[in-house]
Symmetry: C2
Subunit: 402 residues, 2 copies
Amino acid sequence: MTAGPLPLARRADSLVGSVIDSSTALLASKTHDIVRFAMGSPAPEAIPTKILAHVGVEAIGEAAPDAFDYAATEGDPAMRQALLHALEGTSDATTPERLTITSGGMQGLDLAYKIFLDPGDLVAVESPTYTNGTATALSYQAELLEVPVDDDGMDIDALREAVQRAGRAPKIIYTIPTFQNPSGVTMSLPRRRDLLGLAREWGSVLIDDDPYGMLRFAGDDIPTLHELADGDPLVYSVRTFSKIVAPGLRVGWVDADPSLQRLLIAAKQAMDTCTNLPAQRLLAAFLREGYLDDHLLTQREQYRLRKEAMQAALTEHFDGLAHWTDPQGGFFLWVTFERAVDTQALFEIALDEGVAYIPGNAFSPEGRFPNALRLCFASSTPERIREGVARLRRAVDVLEGA
Amino acid sequence: MTAGPLPLARRADSLVGSVIDSSTALLASKTHDIVRFAMGSPAPEAIPTKILAHVGVEAIGEAAPDAFDYAATEGDPAMRQALLHALEGTSDATTPERLTITSGGMQGLDLAYKIFLDPGDLVAVESPTYTNGTATALSYQAELLEVPVDDDGMDIDALREAVQRAGRAPKIIYTIPTFQNPSGVTMSLPRRRDLLGLAREWGSVLIDDDPYGMLRFAGDDIPTLHELADGDPLVYSVRTFSKIVAPGLRVGWVDADPSLQRLLIAAKQAMDTCTNLPAQRLLAAFLREGYLDDHLLTQREQYRLRKEAMQAALTEHFDGLAHWTDPQGGFFLWVTFERAVDTQALFEIALDEGVAYIPGNAFSPEGRFPNALRLCFASSTPERIREGVARLRRAVDVLEGA
């Protein structure tokens, strides 16, 4: 990292390169006729733009003269109330003293590392893992411990062995237990219980990052780590509206032990004062007027069709050449080539062929998974998905000189 | 700091207590018939709610189907373009490669400390200073050096002496040069030049935090540190729409050396991914349609009348008992009692009398200024200001048993 004569912090080195440059990815994905398998965003048509605009006019118009003022740091009362009500009876049901509204899920992670992590502390993460979440840990100078993921989620035996080898307990265990980013797999119920047990044994904070849990389109619900924890203060849950309603609003929430709330409010004030108030008012109205349930019903069905289209296309074009995960919800599917295919080198060729994805090694701080890649099936129609997968196959052929 | 059995980071101790609890202050200030001198927010009637709602409907409605999607991390192109255009010809004029859109000015500070500060580094701050800005520094484990402020802003001789005593150069010098928070004073042009000279001599990053500069209602403009720096990479400028348009939108910007842009984007991605997109679209339309200039003209005139009303009321009720600063713009006026008046003890009595302010020691990490207080004249009408100052005087009389 060079910046002329500037005295950068030690952590600066780990920042650049540790995130996926979504500004570039975004621009690439907006170029005409690139099939968007890269970014983890909902499809344009999956964002209820018309409803949000309509609800927004009511929520932030003349009827609410304070809609553009500072919000309370812990969240606007209307937003908090609507959210608590919407979560009643779900696996994420919670109470006011556990709830802090955040500027998206990412800020929930930023807050966790801010309040728990000292430089050099160990953070156990899934391998592959959500890169920008890891980047947040690195921005607080975490040392990362990568723990393999299989079809049942994080491998708990491997976690125990890795910690034994490291010779010290992780300060934080970071997991995306449901429809994991990037693999799409879900942690089984026995593993969730085992993971909670280990966190308790070690006194580790368990970050339960679950942005996709409400987007299940197959299989049976599994209780969230939040529910299984039953108030254990070690479990810190991060949630967001980005994947289930709209990412551009930047509204999420943290569900954490009541003893942390003052600290979270103080830390958030030192980050961004408060979360955008019109966005909170808009979401509160969206929840209050009952749009969420219908919206989720539609989305689950759409995402199921898209995942099935992607799997069918993969079977058509990649049978024998690669294998892939079978997510029961969420946005992502993880493809691993049977032979050495450099998915970083493939990336530029794929863009030329008109398809964008994210190379596997971007999801591992150690650069594992050079022959894997992440596909987002949520952003494209089934027809575009079929086209995109065909293009991806052509890119592989070009790479291999076929 | 206790949080049950939770393993908190070392920095957690410095977080709680280092910020002014605005959630409480906000609630207090919203209680019926409390005159709001506490929070540094624009008056409800100073926020162009109707225009924003009107512009917002166009900017985020059906005409812009991607208005609720992720934004580019460096800022939405529409927002960036409108801002660059609006700044042309001003003391804050800048270029695309220097510009990063942030979630309010506070995130601009968070980014600065994230990329420059290592634990234990020295940060020179004004005394009194903006508490939440200091809190951000403390959240990165800064060591603070308080440098006195007089009617010409930060005392540069005192800065030089303090650094000499400390025996090491500050990594960062943090200043609010114009209509400073909390004192309302403005750094003179010679001092701005001297400060730049010292930053260059020491290789210190100079954080030029200027939220109020566009709200001058008296005296002549002084070039910003950004303009005086003429591209010196050591100057890092933080700006926000919170005070000039609306705080609830949480949109600001950082103007920094082009060599920092990639790092800033990476750091911001690890904080909140991107800034709320509808808010950016709304502000872009507000700027593009030329509302800002008229709005600022109105606001400057209103704030002038309010400051004059506050000074007149202070002269009526506090002549001989206290002295106060004479700001030429911005939101705040700083009152220092001539004799020992414990403004912390006064606070509760003042709330009972129906007036809220912030005690002086809240603006000093070392707890200086026990007999001073900050008054925000921006949030109340002249009539309410007269009433609030009268109530403040009654509170002093009650405290002193008169």
